[in-house]
């Protein structure tokens, strides 16, 4: 654990100095501030912010992680040539990446609410920050796994973008087409499973159930609310999102242990 912490500390320093992270945090800071000032009440600002977070956080996390692992490959090789286990090396590298990206989301979105002295719309801002951090873990883990599985940088970048586009844009559209084609069939439970299979949908459900705005949930999210009560649904969605956060990281760790560098 000490070795992983040492590796993470230096990798974190490298990321912090790149200024990329500051740009990322400032983007959320400015967006949140503008929405709170000009977007109406806190609930309406949070709804707009949710759409932005669900779109940008997965994209930034998966692209950053994929590029970071590829760029660090030679240095990872040098560190693995030291008396260091692969588990510690992975934990340090992934940990630094996850912490820095999550910090960008937490500080960028959280600061304007903290300055205003409240969690916003009954704690919904805190829920959004947590959902954003969870999505960061999911997609950073996915980016690491893609980079480890695909040696060609350009191909890895393409797969990362494709994965994000599928989860963020194509998924709900495809399900809507399927549901329309199978109109009349009992699709509630398959659609519920479909929601659980997409972390972005889960984050949307968690957020909008908290705000109690089912009209904005998207097709899969709406079916989720028909099956569950608000509290049960939120708990299930949050637990599933937590499982999603761990899944890609565990896959990345497994690939890292077996990887030929």
């Amino acid at each position: 654990m000490r070795i992983a912490a040492k590796i993470a500390a230096f990798q974190l320093l490298d990321v912090l100095r790149s200024r990329w992270l500051f740009g990322y945090a400032i983007f959320f800071l400015v967006t949140t501030e503008l929405l709170l000032r000009f977007g109406g009440d806190a609930t309406r600002a949070l709804v707009s912010l949710t759409s932005i977070v669900l779109f940008t956080v997965p994209l930034a996390a998966i692209v950053f992680a994929t590029i970071y692992v590829h760029r660090a490959r030679e240095f990872i090789e040098l560190l693995l040539a030291q008396p260091v286990g692969r588990g510690a090396m992975f934990a340090g590298t992934y940990g630094a990446m996850a912490v820095s990206l999550s910090a960008g989301v937490v500080l960028g979105i959280g600061m304007p609410f903290v300055v205003r002295g409240g969690a916003g719309a009954g704690g919904a801002a805190a829920v959004l920050v947590a959902a954003g951090a969870a999505l960061t873990l999911v997609f950073a883990g996915a980016g690491v796994a893609i980079a480890l599985r695909t040696d060609d940088r350009l191909r890895a970048f393409g797969i990362a973008l494709g994965g994000w586009a599928c989860a963020a844009m194509a998924y709900d559209a495809v399900l809507l087409v399927v549901a329309t084609a199978l109109a009349g069939a009992p699709l509630e439970r398959p659609l519920l499973a479909a929601t659980l299979a997409n972390p972005i949908d889960l984050a949307r459900v968690v957020m909008l159930m908290h705000l109690d705005i089912s009209a904005l949930m998207g097709y899969t999210g709406a079916s989720f609310t028909r099956v569950f009560t608000a509290s049960t649904g939120t708990a299930l969605a949050a637990a599933s999102l937590a499982a999603w956060a761990a899944g890609p990281a565990l896959l990345g760790a497994r690939l890292f242990r077996r990887k030929d560098f």
């Binding site: 040492k6 230096f10 100095r17 040098l78 560190l79 693995l80 030291q82 008396p83």
Partner: protein
């Protein structure tokens, strides 16, 4: 002593190492040579645990290497592609390795001094020239006074002065009884340094023995011509 026994490794359908049997003796500089794709880097990476062999075994000073990374405390490594985190300074990169090796490691700053790295230690890596980065990579390989040195094309990008310093250091380590395994495409350089040659051809050992014997075997006084002769003849004389 490093021993490779029946070492095999494939990447997909491509067999890169096809049963390598080899002994690398201590107190000698052993050069691994061969054409591109012959398996030189894969062999070195297997020794470092960066690549997992499909079969066979590797022993370092009699102990079989496996999942425990502790054996790598005896190895210093410089790769042919020295890339470090761009926003860290050379001093911070050095500190990472010092932190990973623990407080008990013996530290040898000689190459840092002789390669004049001191003025660059507080410069971020991205502001360093390619040559200075390579000097740092080479100096880091020697930093912990390792018993085994694995140098994968270490002179690539070094200026003539730095190259001479590196060669002197390698020869001095040899006289201290260290094991040095080096790859290079510059045969004149290996002519100066190498005691033994391992010639790899398509993942097999084509020749393993002293430079002197290779010269006699091929009838060529210069190493470069001797290796070229081996490549053309496609003979196996291990």
């Amino acid at each position: 002593m490093i021993e490779f026994r029946s070492l095999t490794k494939s990447f997909g359908a491509r067999e890169v190492l096809r049963g390598v049997d080899l002994c690398v003796r201590p107190g000698r500089v052993t050069a691994v040579v061969g054409s591109n794709g012959a398996g030189k880097t894969t062999l070195i990476k297997c020794l470092l645990g960066l690549v997992r062999p499909d079969g066979g075994e590797i022993r370092v000073n009699g102990a079989r290497i496996g999942g425990d990374p502790a054996y790598r405390a005896t190895i210093g490594y410089a790769s042919q592609m020295s890339r470090f985190p761009e926003h860290l300074t050379a001093r911070e990169v050095t500190k990472i390795l010092l932190g990973l090796r623990g407080g008990s490691a013996v530290i040898d700053w000689e190459l840092f001094e002789r390669l004049a790295l001191a003025p660059h230690l507080d410069t971020r890596v991205r502001a360093l020239s390619g040559g200075t980065r390579q000097k740092l990579a080479v100096a880091l390989a020697f930093l912990f006074a390792p018993r085994v040195l694995v140098l994968d094309e270490p002179s690539a990008g070094l200026d003539p002065v730095a190259n001479a310093v590196l060669k002197d250091k390698i020869l001095s380590e040899r006289s201290d009884g260290k094991t040095v395994l080096v790859t290079s495409h510059v045969m004149s350089e290996l002519d100066e340094l190498a005691d033994d040659i391992v010639f790899l051809r398509a993942g097999r050992v084509g020749y393993a023995g002293s430079v002197q014997k290779l010269r006699v075997f091929t009838g060529q006084p210069h190493l470069e011509r001797a290796i070229a002769s081996m490549m053309k003849k496609e003979v196996v004389c291990a």
